[in-house]
Symmetry: C2
Subunit: 414 residues, 2 copies
C-alpha cells in the first residue's frame, strides 16, 4: 500500500527514537485501552511508522518550552515518519491534521518543524493542481524568455478605484506585465470591490484592445467562501485573468474551492507565513508548505526575494525558488513570486543562484520612483534580467543601458 | 469611526516605539512613493495608529532570528495598534491578514505575538456567531448543572463502523453525553464516512428512543468545502446533532461556511495549535485566537485541561477557559472542550480555578478503562464534578463514592 512520508527536524530531552515513537503513536492508532476486535493486522495497517532517525547536534538550552532534560542536554535529529494512504485518503485538511496536528503539543519535543512531505503517485489522480502554472501565466500575459515584471498598488490602502485605475494606466503604458492589490486591500470603504474591478479592467481591456497586451491584475478576493466565489465571477465577467487569495488567512479548504473554479490564475499570497516558519525549530519549512498549496491548486506563490527587506536570508529564498521549480508528481507547476525590496539589482544574484527566469518579479519603487519615469523603470528591470541571463555583471549591464544605469544610481546604494 | 485594536507582545533591537511604527506602516497605508491625489485626510483615514507602547523587560539574546542589536540588547514591549473598520469592513480573512500578515516577516522584530484583539460593536451585525454555544449544546444533550461528559473513539484510527458503533453502544449505556471521532479519523479505508454515520446513529437513535437521551456525536467532516457540506447534510439527515471541524487545517473561510449552515453544533478542534502558540514570542495567544473562531461560529473549542499530557501549563489552560467564558460583544457563547489526560481527579482544581461547569469534559481511559466498567467511569466523572462544585476535596469525594474511589486508585498516581 502507498505511503505518505513526512520529514521533521526535532529537538528532545529524551532519546530521539523514543520521542519519534511518541509522535507516531499520537498521530495514528495509539491505543490506551484494548478494544474488542482490534487485531495486530489492523494496527499494522493504520499505525504510523518511524522510517529513520538521524541524530544531529546536542544543545544545552531547549528551543521551545517542553519537558525538562534530566541530563541538561537536548538532542536534535532528523526523523522520517510514514502513514498509509488508507488512513485518510485524498483529503488535504486531514493530511495536515495528521502531519501537523497535535504533534506540536507533545511535551517530549522541545522543538519540532515539518521540513518536507512526500505524497504517492496516486495523489495525481485526485488533485487537479494549478490550472495555469508557469506556462499558463506566460500564455495569459504573452511574456516568454524573461520573468514577468510586476508591481503592487501602493499605498496599500486608501486609493479610490479611479486613482487605482489611473496608476494601472501609467503602469500599463510603461509596459508592465502584472499588477496586484495589496493583501490589505479588498474592499475598503472608499474602494468597493466591484467599482475597483470596473475601473481597473476598463483600463486594462482598453490597453489590450490597442496593444494586444493584457496586463494581468490580481484582484484580492480573500474573504468568506460565497463572497469569494461572487467576486471571482465578477472578475471573470470583467475580462480579468487573475485573483489573489491570502492563503493562510482563507485556509486550505476555501483556497482549494477557489482554485477549483479554473477560470483565473490564482495568486497565492502567503502573508502570515513568518509566524509559521521564522523559528528554526517550530512550524513548517517552505519545502513542505509549497507542496500543500500546489496540491490545492495555486498558480503563483510568494517566496520573498534576494536581499529582501524582511528577515529572510538569501539562502532561504533560493531554497524556496528551487522548491517551486521542482516538479511535484511530475507537474503541479507553480510560478514563484519574487518580491520585497526588489529593484533589478538583485536580478544578477537571483539568476546566478537559481538559473531560472520562470519568475514573477515584483518591484515597487524600482518602477514608479525611477528617475526617468515608470516606463524606464520597467525597461530597467527587463535590462537587468537580460544582462543576468547573458552573463553580464551589474556594472556591465549599467554601461549598456541608461535606464538601468539610472536605477543603479538611485537604488544601488540601498 | 469605529476601530479594531490589536495587542502585541514584541521584542526588538530598536526603540519599541520605532518598531511599532514600522508595524503600523507595513500593515496599512505605508507609502514609498507619493501618488497623485493622495491627501493627508486619506492617510489619516486609513493609516494604522500606534495606541500605546508599554516597555517591559530587556534581554541579551533575541527570541527569534531578525535584525541584530548594535547594543547587544533586545527590548520587549506590549504594543497596541488600531485600524479603522473602513479598511476592510467585516471580513475575517482580511482581519487576519491585517493583524497577522506580513508583520511576522518584519526584521525589526525578534519576537512578535498577537495577544488580543478587540472588534467594535458593529461586528455583531455581521457575524451570526455560534448557532448553539453553551445553552444550545446543553439543550441538545439534556445536560444541566454539570459539565457535559465526553470521550473520544480510540484507537484513533483502525476501527470499522461496526466496532465504532459497538463502542458507542457501550458508552451510551454508560450514560455518556458526548462522543467524538478522533481528528485523524475521517474516512479511513475500513471506515467509510457514511457507513460510520449509519452505524453510529442507529445506535444513538435507538438509545434516544428508549431513554429520551440523545448522545451528541461529533463526526469529523474536515475536508474540502463541497465534501464537508455533503457530509454535513448526511449527518443532519441521519439525526445527528454535531460535526467536528479541524479548524486550523480547514481554515477560516471553510469553517465559517460550515458554521453558517446552522443545523449542527460545530466542534472546533484546534489540532496544530501548538505550532501557533508554543513559542512565547511568536504566533498568537489563545485570547486572540478564540475570538476569531467565535466570530466564525464554532460552538465548542478545545482548551486542553489541567495537568494535561501535553506541554501546556495549568495557568495557560485556565486563561483559555476564562477567555471562552468572557462574552464577546455580549455573546458569541462557546463551550470550552477540556481534554488530554483527564480522568476526574482534575475536576477539583479545574473548578477551583475557573468556577464554571459550562465545560465539555473529555476523558478517555478514565471511562473505558475504569476498573468497575464504563458506566462506573462516567459516574465517577460526574461524582468528581459534583464533589468539586459542592466544595469537597478529592479525598472526601472518594470516601462518598466507590466509583470515584476506584478511579482515584487506578488513575490517581499518574
Amino acid at each position: 500500500m502507498e505511503r505518505i512520508t513526512a520529514t521533521y527536524y526535532i529537538e528532545t530531552p529524551f532519546r530521539p527514537e523514543d520521542a519519534a515513537a511518541v509522535l507516531a503513536g499520537e498521530q495514528s492508532s495509539g491505543t490506551f485501552v484494548a478494544v474488542p476486535g482490534e487485531t495486530a493486522e489492523l494496527k499494522q495497517r493504520f499505525a504510523a511508522r518511524v522510517e529513520s532517525v538521524e541524530e544531529l547536534e546536542t544543545v544545552r538550552e531547549p528551543a521551545i518550552p517542553g519537558a525538562t532534560s534530566s541530563s541538561g542536554l537536548y538532542h536534535r535529529a532528523r526523523v522520517r515518519v510514514s502513514w498509509s494512504v488508507e488512513n485518510f485518503g485524498y483529503n488535504l485538511p486531514l493530511l495536515v491534521s495528521t502531519l501537523q496536528g497535535n504533534l506540536y503539543e507533545i511535551r517530549q519535543f522541545t522543538g519540532l518543524k515539518l521540513m518536507d512531505l512526500d505524497v504517492p503517485a496516486s495523489y495525481a489522480q485526485h488533485f487537479a493542481g494549478p490550472a495555469f502554472g508557469v506556462a499558463g501565466c506566460r500564455a495569459l500575459t504573452g511574456v516568454q524568455g524573461r520573468p514577468l515584471i510586476g508591481t503592487i498598488i501602493k499605498p496599500s490602502i486608501g486609493l479610490t478605484p479611479e486613482q487605482t485605475a489611473g496608476l494601472v494606466q501609467t503602469l500599463a503604458e510603461a509596459g508592465i506585465d502584472f499588477v496586484k492589490d495589496d493583501e490589505l486591500q479588498m474592499a475598503a470603504a472608499n474602494s468597493p470591490f466591484e467599482a475597483r474591478v470596473d475601473a481597473v479592467m476598463a483600463v486594462i481591456n482598453r490597453h489590450a484592445d490597442r496593444t494586444g497586451k493584457k496586463v494581468m491584475y490580481a484582484f484580492n478576493i480573500s474573504g468568506e467562501v460565497d463572497e469569494m466565489l461572487r467576486r471571482y465571477e465578477y472578475v471573470v465577467r470583467a475580462g480579468g485573468t487573475c485573483a489573489m487569495v491570502s492563503i493562510n488567512s482563507v485556509g486550505l479548504a476555501g483556497t482549494r474551492k477557489i482554485c477549483d473554479q479554473g477560470a483565473l490564475a490564482i495568486h497565492g499570497h502567503r502573508n502570515g507565513w513568518g509566524m509559521l516558519t521564522r523559528h528554526p525549530l517550530l512550524g513548517i519549512d517552505f519545502r513542505a508548505y509549497q507542496k500543500l498549496w500546489r496540491l490545492a491548486g495555486v498558480d503563483q506563490l510568494h517566496v520573498n526575494g534576494i536581499q529582501n527587506k524582511f528577515w529572510e536570508s538569501d539562502d532561504s529564498v533560493v531554497a524556496s525558488i528551487e522548491a517551486c521549480q521542482t516538479p511535484l508528481l511530475g507537474g503541479y507547476s507553480v510560478l514563484p513570486v519574487v518580491s520585497s525590496g526588489q529593484w533589478g539589482g538583485q536580478a544578477f544574484e537571483t539568476y546566478r543562484r537559481t538559473r531560472t527566469t520562470d519568475l514573477l518579479y515584483m518591484a515597487g519603487g524600482g518602477i514608479l520612483a525611477h528617475p526617468m519615469g515608470p516606463a524606464a523603470g520597467v525597461q530597467a528591470l527587463q535590462q537587468a534580467w537580460q544582462g543576468a541571463v547573458d552573463g553580464r555583471s551589474l556594472a556591465e549591464t549599467a554601461t549598456l543601458h541608461p535606464e538601468f544605469a539610472a536605477a543603479v544610481e538611485k537604488f544601488g546604494g540601498k
